[in-house]
Every structure is written in structure tokens, then in C-alpha cells.
């Protein structure tokens, strides 16, 4: 074989090795850790003016590629009205676009104290996530940071595919 041919083989092997190193790095690199804490006021306009209001606390924690999302509901007196605890993994972190891709694989539901009714939002979220988990074994969601100020520890994020905008505290 000519010298030129050997060089070509060497370069091809080198490129393959570089590709393997890149692949190993991308597979083993751990996504950024972050924690968001979002509090919301829930309003449910019922028929004939029968409104029922609640508070919702959402904690989104990403650590070493694992994700945990807790939805905790409270009535106006501060009593627990239900909890949805989801766990999954962070599939991808796009730091350039400020997007986080999460797959929820398990969820646990706890109803409120003393048999009080669960909020409409709890029922809605339980239905949607249950539907996805039962159909495909996972409930995928992405979090896009719309606005962020590290100095003031806040971020406004957009959850997809639900298209939910939410202001959150950045917890360090």
C-alpha cells in the first residue's frame, strides 16, 4: 500500500477516535444542576359563581441528570389539598437556548387532608400526566427560560407542551 493510502487510513482512524471521544463525553457528561421553586395562585371559576381558590407550589429539582417535580396544593388556610410527586430524568440541557428537556417516568399522588376536594388543576394535571405515562411510559416536558436574573434569583419559564408560563425563584 502506498504511503498516501496509509496516511488516509491513519486520518480516518483518528477521526473515528475523536468521534468516539466526543460520543463518550456527550453520553457521560452530567447535565447542569438547578432548582426552581414556583408559587402560584389558582383560581377556578365554577358554574354559578362558585369559585374555589388554592395555592400551588411547584419545586423542580435537577441533580446529576435526575429530575424531581413536586406539585403541592394548599387551600387558602394553608391546609394541604393534594400533592403530585413526579420523578424522571433530564434528557438534555441546552444552555445556549436556555431549555431543559425532562422525561417524567413515575408519579405519586396524595390527596388532601380530611377528605377535602382536590383542586381542579390537580385533577387536570393528574389526568394529562397519567394519560402520557400510561400510553408511552413517560410524560415529557420541556422548560424554556424566558427571562432570568441570577442576581435577583428569579426566572420566568415556559413549560411545554402545556404552554404554561410561570415565574419562579432560583434556589442555589
Amino acid at each position: 500500500m502506498t504511503r498516501k493510502g496509509l496516511w488516509i487510513i491513519n486520518i480516518v482512524i483518528l477521526l473515528c477516535l475523536i468521534g468516539c471521544v466526543g460520543m463518550i463525553y456527550s453520553l457521560t457528561s452530567k447535565p447542569t444542576n438547578f432548582m426552581l421553586s414556583c408559587s402560584s395562585e389558582l383560581f377556578n371559576h365554577g358554574v354559578a359563581g362558585a369559585d374555589s381558590d388554592h395555592y400551588l407550589l411547584v419545586d423542580l429539582v435537577s441533580k446529576d441528570g435526575l429530575a424531581q417535580i413536586n406539585y403541592r396544593y394548599y387551600d387558602l388556610e394553608g391546609n394541604s389539598a393534594g400533592t403530585l410527586a413526579m420523578t424522571g430524568k433530564v434528557n438534555k440541557v441546552d444552555t445556549e437556548r436556555q431549555m431543559f428537556d425532562i422525561s417524567v417516568t413515575t408519579k405519586q399522588e396524595y390527596t388532601g387532608e380530611k377528605g377535602q376536594g382536590t383542586p381542579e388543576h390537580f385533577e387536570y394535571l393528574s389526568y394529562i400526566s397519567g394519560l402520557n405515562l400510561n400510553q408511552s411510559g413517560m410524560h415529557s416536558l420541556s422548560v424554556q427560560v424566558l427571562e432570568r436574573d441570577e442576581t435577583k434569583d428569579y426566572a420566568v419559564v415556559l413549560f411545554q407542551p402545556s404552554n404554561t408560563v410561570c415565574g419562579c425563584r432560583l434556589v442555589h
Binding site: M1, G5, I8, I9, V12, L15, C16, G19, S37, C38, S39, S40, E41, L42, F43, N44, H45, G46, V47, Y55, L56, L57, Y74, G78, N91, K92, D94, R97, Q98, M99, D101, E120, H121, Y124, S142, Q144, L146, E147, D149, K152, D153, Y154, V156, L158, Q160, P161, S162, N163, T164, V165, C166, G167, C168, R169
Partner: protein, 264 residues
């Protein structure tokens, strides 16, 4: 010299079957014929040359040469007897042949040249890289851009940005309508603590999300409102309800338990 599964030791005049270990010390005619065939391997050796005899100038008969060819072919066995080819009317030819252990490589080399192998490797690499890129692109979620940004000027000349988010650019009448209710109510405010308002409607149009963002003495304030409406037609926000909500407030509205915890 390797001939099929046999090794020809030209010095000793032996033909050794490497499979069975059988050694055949070639008789004079066979040695002469095979030596000439090896010497002119790949070329036709004329019958007259084969019959010309050995160094001692002794001649071989045509029948002796034919018998030598026959016995040599017999020793080579049915698998390799075709190595000695009869060229009609001319003579015999020993076809070029390499060791059997290289047969597989030979076969491969016949079909794939080094340049072709490199080309195949490059093509496969490009194909794999293409598949990886396609997979990345498919999984890539594109960031959602604001559907609209409207700056509302209050009576005190304070400006509030109302930013709408939607996955689609069409079928956003309900979102736009509800946002307009919010804009009208804000316009009635002499002043408010909020500087930016983010509004989105859930993909199934069941929940309207409003996030109010402001600053108070250098500290960021956030208020999230999630409104469900079971009524038809849906009226997530009305002027009366927004008035109750106190969006013209100069403080952070009603305090949620989390806000108390987080000092927000």
C-alpha cells in the same frame, strides 16, 4: 513455494502435503516438469520445453510429461488440480496461487481494494454522523418566541409590557381577547408595581396563566395566577375580577405561603 495445500521444496525435490504430512520425493520427470512450471508460473510452458529434459540433456517423451502432469495433479488433489492448466495445442501453465491461509484475504482483496475499504469506512462514518445529527435535530425543541408584545402606558406614564406566548400563531382569539381585558384593566391603573406581564393559555385552552413581574426596592417580585374556567363561554379574566385581584397594587398582592417563605 506453496501450491494449494502442498509446499514444494525445490531444493530437496519434495512435494509436501501440509494437511496429511505426506512427503513425496518427486521422480525425475515430475521434478523437471514442476520446476519448469514454477519457473514460468503464470505463463504457458511449451510441451517442447517440458520434453527437453533435465540438465543432463536427457529427453522426456510426450507420454512421460503427460504422466508427470497427471501424477502431480493427483497429488495436489481435486481441490487444487486445476492449478496446472492444460493450454490446448501449446502446453501447460501453473496458475498463480498463494497459500491457502490467505485464501479468505485473497477473496476479500479480489472484491475490495484498500481505497474502496477506506471509501466504505468514510461513507459509513458519514452515514452514522448523519443519523446522529438527524436524531439530534428531531429531538431538538425549538424555543417558543412571543406571540406578541404590547406596551401599555398607564395614567402615570409608567409602562408595562404585556407579552403573550402561544405554541401556534393561529387560533389564538381566546388568548388575545383575555389579554385585551388585562390591558384595559392595567390602563385604568394610575400606577402599579408590575413592569412585565407574561400571559399564556394552556394547549387545551383550559387554563390561563398570568405571571406578573416587578421590582420593589431592588428586590424582584413575582406573582403567578392560574385561572381555570368551567363555564362556557370562558371568561378567565373580567374587569371586576381583576379589580378584586388588585393588579394596580403597589405591593405584591395577597401573600401566598411560599411568598412568605421566600420573602418574595
Amino acid at each position: 513455494m506453496q501450491l494449494g495445500h502442498c509446499r514444494f521444496d525445490i531444493g530437496k525435490g519434495d512435494l509436501i502435503n501440509q494437511d496429511t504430512g505426506a512427503v513425496w520425493h518427486l521422480p525425475r520427470a515430475e521434478l523437471h516438469v514442476l520446476s519448469l512450471l514454477v519457473e514460468y508460473q503464470g505463463k504457458v510452458v511449451a510441451k517442447s520445453l517440458l520434453e527437453s529434459g533435465h540438465e543432463d540433456n536427457s529427453h522426456l517423451s510426450s507420454a512421460s510429461v503427460a504422466r508427470a502432469i497427471f501424477t502431480l495433479r493427483s497429488f495436489l488433489g481435486p481441490q487444487y488440480e486445476s492449478l496446472i492448466e492444460t493450454v490446448k495445442g501449446q502446453g501447460y501453465m501453473l496458475r498463480p496461487h498463494r497459500a491457502r491461509k490467505e485464501t479468505a484475504n485473497n477473496w476479500l482483496r479480489q472484491w475490495i481494494r484498500p481505497q474502496q475499504a477506506i471509501l466504505i469506512i468514510v461513507l459509513v462514518s458519514v452515514l452514522l454522523a448523519g443519523l446522529w445529527w438527524f436524531n439530534q435535530q428531531r429531538n431538538e425543541a425549538t424555543p417558543v418566541l412571543p406571540l406578541s408584545v404590547e406596551t401599555v402606558t398607564l395614567k402615570s406614564e409608567q409602562q408595562v409590557d404585556v407579552i403573550l406566548y402561544s405554541l401556534s400563531n393561529t387560533n389564538n382569539e381566546l388568548l388575545t381577547e383575555q389579554a385585551q381585558q388585562l390591558v384595559k384593566s392595567l390602563q385604568q391603573c394610575p400606577v402599579t408595581i408590575w413592569s412585565r406581564v407574561f400571559v399564556s393559555l394552556s394547549h387545551d385552552k383550559q387554563v390561563l396563566n398570568i405571571t406578573l413581574r416587578g421590582d420593589h426596592y431592588g428586590q424582584s417580585l413575582i406573582r403567578n395566577l392560574k385561572i381555570s374556567d368551567l363555564r362556557q363561554p370562558k371568561q378567565f379574566v373580567t374587569p371586576q375580577w381583576l379589580a378584586q385581584l388588585n393588579i394596580c397594587s403597589t405591593s405584591n398582592g395577597r401573600a401566598a405561603p411560599s411568598n412568605q417563605l421566600q420573602g418574595g
